[in-house]
Symmetry: C2
Subunit: 239 residues, 2 copies
DNA sequence: CACAATTATGGAATGCAGTTCCATATGCGC
DNA sequence: GCGCATATGGAACTGCATTCCATAATTGTG
């Protein structure tokens, strides 16, 4: 109704020479996320980087969740495609390789860990489940157990990713690098009541000195052992 | 909203008869989270429920993250304390029981799953690690492996919690109950390209029919089997 | 070629959230 | 009674996602 004195000319500038595309936007979002962290992705910053307004972005993207999922999906897709699975490797080795690829991706792009958890559609998930699932098949796991076996691996991977993302964010927010952070947590644990938290206190040293990547893999191996023993009756050829 | 005659007197009303306390605030926050979901917790809603202003809350709480962590910690604390561990149960049974208790808590309070991942301090984590760790000790796992063993279990539990929380939120946002949601995802998976996603498509049925709680436990068991076989040389008494 | 209709664009406006500010109250030690 | 630390609560500030809208380019149609 009342058009009160809003500027007469809203769009005075020339139009961009090359049009926006969903892909461009997602690429810019990934760059922003990588350089400025999860909180760095705002429609304002994104607008500026693409020299446009927020409105234009919404023509290609439904909303921020969509954008985040798409960015996450992009990383996961290129990660899984790039994973160099060798045809003659054991299924176990392949699963380790796939899992490590995801770990490294989430380590390099810390926001992926949390984006994955909240991903809207399911395409990122599906991209992970498929190749791992094939190896589980190759492992000879009976069909009835496919579901829980992939679920377990996936949930573990997502758990690690989420936690690393949270730790990283905490560290960055407080200006601590990884070792400062671990040091701080380790100290905090040592100060717990010895009566109530003897076990946690005993973890103070490993907390300070552990290697995330190695331990992630150790967890995968532990789960793989659990899988292996669960269908011994089927395994005819071991490696 | 209606800004009523913002007079010169900012605080005209009487002071509350009983003072606010951190505990009251956290309790109110938990109630809000339970009834209105993760997005229901705002300082405005909280202020109203406590019939005060946002400023008063900030006297007791440093920040929203603090509040969320505290609420989460409250649930975790009561959950772990209430878990009826029997002294003569096997360590495996006790771990299952503890894990299930967490699952049920996260199922009843869906926001806990995501709050746990982003928890600021580490008290909620510590509350889970301690009792599980003791059972791992009781299991005879060598000290060197304590760290990765608890980590694996914890990460798995966090992963499941986070994913359930995300799924629930998605469902609620789209007005789907659990079975509608599973049906939708299952259908989505069936429409994937059979060449590219044969395995995922084969999971379409279990996706539709699975039982979260049962499968969570199956994952725990799978991990427990992996733990068991990793230190056979120590195990003298099995159950 | 004219001329609608559709597709895009981008800047302003909206609304809501976390957080800070500040004018005040209340209790407590002296 | 007086001054100080402890609380309180409402308004104001800031920054965000999202929507609105006046337009510009492009496409289709006679």
């Amino acid at each position: 109704m009342t058009q009160k004195a809003r500027g007469k000319k809203t769009s005075s500038g020339q139009r961009r020479e090359e049009s926006l595309s969903r892909e461009q936007i997602i690429a810019a979002a990934i760059e922003l996320l990588d350089t400025s962290g999860e909180n760095g992705l705002t429609f304002r910053a994104l607008s500026e980087q693409l020299s446009t307004g927020p409105g234009a972005i919404y023509w290609h993207i439904t909303d921020k969740g969509d954008l985040l999922t798409a960015a996450c999906d992009g990383i996961v897709a290129r990660t899984m495609n790039a994973a160099p699975i060798k045809p003659n490797a054991t299924p176990q080795a392949s699963i380790r390789l796939l899992a490590l690829a995801m770990f490294d991706a989430m380590d390099e792009h810390p926001w992926v860990g949390s984006a994955l958890t909240g991903a809207r559609g399911h395409s990122p998930m599906v991209r992970i489940v498929e190749p791992i699932g094939r190896q589980i098949q190759a492992l000879g796991v009976p069909k009835k157990q496919h579901w829980i076996t992939v679920s377990t691996l996936l949930n573990y991977i997502l758990g690690v990713g989420g936690r690393n993302a949270a730790n990283g964010q905490y560290g960055r927010a407080h200006g601590l690098d990884r070792s400062d952070f671990l040091e701080a947590v380790s100290a905090e644990w040592l100060q717990l009541d010895p009566k109530e938290y003897p076990f946690v206190r005993s973890l103070s040293v490993p907390m300070r000195t552990h290697d995330d990547r190695r331990d992630f893999l150790a967890g995968i191996d532990l789960i793989l052992r659990g899988i292996d023993t669960s269908h011994k009756r089927f395994a005819s050829k071991n490696v």
